[in-house]
């Protein structure tokens, strides 16, 4: 078991170090999410209310996540390293788990900026809303890392990825928006946990089939 955890930690660390050195994903995500929020200010009509703003926050988060996920497998692809990685790693799901952790770290970093910015520019966020964001981020990274690996196998991966992830992220948006606007957020938080569990198990179990030849 320590071998598995060790693999995951080493692979995730590699991704984070690569990003620290090259800085080609995180700055783009940060700039994107803030720009989107500014665009939304002008897209919302006057007096649209806080609820509409919460909805737009979710659009911004989903698209920011997509931006990060589109680059998730770029390092491996550029150096044709995925096949070697697949052969070298005992349990392939460790690769998926490490990539999910790295993607989640990037998205989390973007949200650390985006949520305060949203609170200042639009409407306050309570604890339930933040919890909703955290759980939905886990869900979108879990599903998105696998979808990104699928899309990377074919032509036109940049176009395919949003098509794969958006229908899958609709339940997450429902749960997240519900957690921010509903007076009883508990149901929505529980639903997000359910989503994360179902798709984490499914992705964890099926990743091997996506990457092996």
């Amino acid at each position: 078991m320590s071998g598995y955890v060790g693999d995951v930690v080493a692979l995730a660390r590699k991704d984070l170090l690569l990003e620290l050195r090259a800085r080609d994903t995180l700055p783009a995500m940060l700039l994107f999410v803030v720009s989107t929020l500014v665009v939304f200010h002008f897209a919302l009509p006057q007096g649209a209310g806080d609820d509409a703003a919460y909805g737009l926050l979710w659009v911004a988060l989903v698209f920011t996540a997509l931006l990060g996920l589109a680059r998730a497998w770029v390092p491996e692809r550029e150096h044709a390293a995925l096949d070697g990685l697949v052969l070298a790693t005992g349990d392939r799901s460790a690769i998926w788990l490490a990539k999910t952790v790295a993607a989640l770290a990037f998205l989390g970093a973007a949200e650390v900026v985006a949520l305060p910015a949203f609170a200042v520019l639009f409407a306050p966020l309570d604890a339930a809303a933040v919890l909703g964001v955290v759980l939905a981020s886990v869900g979108i990274c879990v599903v998105g890392t696998l979808a990104s690996a699928m899309a990377a196998a074919g032509r036109g991966r940049e176009v395919i990825l949003p098509l794969l992830v958006l229908p899958l992220s609709i339940p997450l948006v429902v749960g997240g928006v519900g957690a921010s606007v509903s007076s009883e957020p508990r149901t929505y938080v529980a639903f997000l946990c359910l989503y994360d569990a179902v798709f984490a198990i499914l992705s964890w179990a099926s990743f091997e089939y996506v990457v092996t030849e």
Partner: protein, 227 residues
């Protein structure tokens, strides 16, 4: 495919059931007291929707077989089932829109959970084809398609739940489509219609599968003949 019932037999059964269904729907089942004649759309709309679920489920089952046994055969079957499911999904959306127009005066309503669910599924399975056609044919594509098909069956209940939850904060009022209880003959007509649609779907599935297999055999033959 069941080996005992041949495709011609199945087609004959389909035609007979379809004729029986249309007769039951229009000449035996009484008109709905509430909705009037437009309730008759229900007898096709709901069975088509249920059949689409069956086909998506069949596609996922065959996908599971692909992952177990790595067979090209199951890949074709899974693909054909999902293709049929998407066709029936599109039909569900169109007949649903017509029904919404007939009973509520609008072509689309977000308060009908079933319709919204089918819209989500339709988008999801359209992406299946985009994904499939972007990957080169081979074992890798078979497995990627299979995994995606499995995600589909997980997405159906999860989305269903999500849409139920969403309607709480987006549309507090819920329309009920079924209205009062169906009478005996109405339920009978519904069952016959469902059987007819399922058998029709099976026939279409088998025909398409036969075509795709012939295609694959032809490709092999051409390679064997050295062209």
């Amino acid at each position: 495919m069941p080996a005992r019932i041949t495709l011609p037999t199945l087609s004959v059964i389909s035609v007979a059931l379809m004729a029986a269904a249309v007769t039951m729907i229009f000449f035996v089942a009484p008109e709905d007291a509430d909705q009037g004649i437009s309730q008759k759309i229900f007898y096709f709309h709901v069975p088509i929707a249920l059949t689409a679920y069956v086909l998506f489920g069949l596609g996922a089952w065959k996908a599971l077989r692909v992952l177990w046994t790595r067979g090209e055969r199951y890949d074709l079957e899974s693909y054909t089932a999902i293709h049929q499911g998407t066709i029936f999904g599109a039909l569900t959306l169109i007949t649903g829109a017509i029904w919404a127009k007939a009973s509520w005066g609008v072509w689309w309503t977000w308060s009908s959970n079933q319709l919204v669910l089918f819209l989500v599924l339709f988008l999801f399975y359209c992406a299946y084809f985009m994904l499939r056609f972007s990957v080169e044919a081979g074992p890798r594509r078979e497995r990627i398609s299979a995994v995606y098909a499995l995600f589909g069956v997980a997405l159906i209940p999860v989305s269903f739940l999500a849409i139920r939850l969403a309607s709480d904060f987006i549309h507090p009022t819920v329309f009920t489509r079924e209205g009062p209880q169906m009478t005996g003959t109405m339920f009978g007509a519904f069952c016959v219609a469902w059987a007819a649609i399922v058998v029709l779907a099976l026939v279409m599935y088998s025909v398409e599968l036969a075509g795709k297999r012939t295609d694959a055999h032809l490709r092999e033959l051409r390679e064997a003949l050295g062209r």
